[in-house]
Subunit: 130 residues, 2 copies
């Protein structure tokens, strides 16, 4: 951190509002944790993997790539990230590896942040929807 620049705005313009915000504001750590979770699903491939697993219950990597119509490498990378974060679980049967949502997957994340948002971005915000 540099101190060359003087601390700006020494006197709050509205001290009361600042105090209220400060007191009810999530800490930087909490915000970082939330941001981390959101970053995980802020990717078309990863979110669609979660959508697909939510719909199909269980899929292997190849079928997942087929369903999403994307490269298998992309699916592999997305699954690695999601698996590292503990959001998906895998089961091996012979030479095929099946993936599903983790048993303790936070459902609010899927319901509120994905399914609801896809409906939200489609219609009300005056988006050009065919």
């Amino acid at each position: 951190m540099r101190n060359d620049r003087p601390q700006p705005h020494q006197h709050p313009v509205d001290a009361e509002r600042v105090a209220r915000a400060r007191e009810r504001l999530p800490s930087r750590d909490d915000a970082a944790a939330v941001a981390g979770v959101l970053t995980l699903i802020s990717d078309p491939t990863r979110s669609r993997v979660l959508y697909a697993l939510d719909v199909a219950e269980e899929l292997c990597v190849g079928d997942l790539a087929l369903a999403l119509e994307v490269n298998e490498d992309a699916v592999g990378y997305a699954l690695r990230v999601l698996r590292t974060a503990g959001l998906v679980a895998n089961r091996r049967e012979g030479r095929v590896v099946y993936y599903r949502l983790a048993p303790d997957f936070p459902e609010p994340l899927l319901d509120h942040c994905l399914w609801r948002l896809v409906a939200l971005t489609r219609s009300p915000a005056a988006d050009d929807a065919p």
Copy 2:
């Protein structure tokens, strides 16, 4: 797209599940739109700006930096991004610029994706709050 590699997995292992996933899956464009919105709030500074504006109703840039205890540049950049996306609105009074959530701000985004998530990540099953 390259075709050097042979198309893997020509025959689905479980055609029915693939078909079901394919049919109920958001399109790549929809997923990209959702990812875009989520990316906007997948940043500690930006999300805390939204939290603060939700709590305090209206704040100027300097007070915002004071409340979040971050550099003023960071707040400025966050506000620029949020403003470009149309998530916040500003009002100029003299030389002070006040920011607030945009009139048509999608409340589900804030309620479901931010406030609820911060409670979720803090303690898996505890709600202490608003």
